[in-house]
């Protein structure tokens, strides 16, 4: 193929270089970039994907701590939101999430009931943030109603807002919004789907 100058177009030369060796080299260079970026303090958000019984989870951390856990619905949109709200300096960097990944694996295997990794709660604001903080006090294996949680967050009439707070919890599973049920005992909604909520509650049943 030629353009108006009679020269071959981009792809002709570029394709010649697209060797297997090169495709193998890029992951190695990526790993080096992850290390050097973290060492230089330039890795504002590191993320990885983790397979779990409730589907593939996206885990994201800042240097301050775990900042986002997301169900598999739309990981690309989740990353765009993190780019906008935290920083576009985002790299796929599984190593930065080794610890929380291990804790989640242990939780799903029934070997762990609490999470010890530091949390970065900057995505929780205002009254919704207060509710999301209160979620962390609901112990493993127990549940509360949306109304009770509204009470605990200091506004018993804000049941609807509590529902919103649970639905928009940036750290599901680790911050246990799945332990909040309707006052009639029915499950209510869940960001990861009702099946995921049921599975988590069953997992925590003694």
């Amino acid at each position: 193929m030629t353009d108006s100058t009679g020269l071959p177009d981009n792809t002709e030369l570029a394709d010649l270089a697209d060797t297997t060796e090169m495709r193998d080299k890029l992951p190695e260079l990526h790993a080096r970039l992850e290390r050097e970026a973290a060492a230089a303090g330039l890795l504002d958000v590191a993320y990885r994907l983790l397979d779990s019984p409730v589907g593939q989870l996206l885990l994201a951390t800042t240097p301050a701590g775990l900042v986002r856990v997301a169900f598999s619905a739309d990981h690309e949109r989740v990353l765009s939101t993190l780019a906008e709200r935290i920083s576009p300096r985002i790299l796929h960097s599984p190593k930065a999430l080794d610890e929380v990944s291990g804790e989640l694996d242990a939780y799903f295997a029934g070997r762990r009931t609490t999470f010890d990794v530091p949390l970065d709660r900057r995505l929780s604001h205002g009254f919704l943030g207060q509710v999301q903080h209160a979620l962390s006090d609901i112990p493993f294996g127990t549940t509360v109603s949306y109304g009770q949680l509204a009470d605990r967050a200091g506004n018993p009439r804000a049941v609807r807002a509590v529902g919103t707070a649970c639905a928009t919890n940036p750290l599901p599973i680790v911050v246990p919004c799945h332990r909040v049920l309707r006052s009639d005992g029915s499950l209510g909604d869940y960001a990861g789907g009702i099946e995921a909520k049921r599975l988590l509650l069953d997992l925590e049943r003694p």
Partner: protein, 163 residues
């Protein structure tokens, strides 16, 4: 307002292009990898300030050009004067396009640079002229001359008399 893509997408979309550019300009694989790493580290640092509508590939190739110069200077400082390093041994280890890349590397530096930035980096001649000096027209001529000799080498490769 356009939302800026996570930097991971920049690496995924342009990592291979930048590596090709670094290899074409620097030749040595080790030097090219150093330049690639320096390029993306530097890009990561500056990324939040990059306008969302910027030409990301052009931006990266521009950084790669500067980093390649840095690597070349560092190598010159540390060069062992008597050592004339042999080509990497073992032709069976070479990728299938090695002959083409040897041909690219054998071009005069000016032609090699222009060809790399135009055809691998996708920069226009005006931008290349800004980076490497001279005029856009001169850059276009250098690219044309380089391609002529690449075609000749390509023919030589086909005829099996390249070595």
């Amino acid at each position: 307002m356009m939302t800026k893509a996570p930097f991971e997408a920049v690496v995924a979309d342009h990592g291979a292009t930048v590596l090709r550019v670094c290899r074409a300009v620097l030749g040595s694989h080790t030097d090219a990898e150093d330049a690639w790493s320096e390029t993306f580290l530097s890009a990561l640092k500056a990324y939040p300030e990059l306008p969302a509508e910027a030409n990301v590939r052009g931006w990266l190739v521009t950084i790669a050009h500067r980093k390649a110069i840095d690597v070349t200077r560092a190598r010159a400082r540390h060069a062992i004067p008597t050592a004339d390093l042999p080509e990497r041994a073992g032709s069976d280890l070479e990728p299938p396009d090695a002959a083409v890349w040897r041909a690219v590397r054998s071009l005069p530096p000016r032609q090699r640079e222009v060809i790399t930035y135009r055809y691998l980096g996708g920069l226009d001649y005006a931008t290349i002229a800004e980076l490497t000096g001279g005029t856009a027209a001169a850059a276009r001529r250098a690219a044309s001359d380089g391609l002529t000799s690449l075609r000749a080498k390509g023919a030589a490769v086909t005829l099996g008399i390249d070595e």
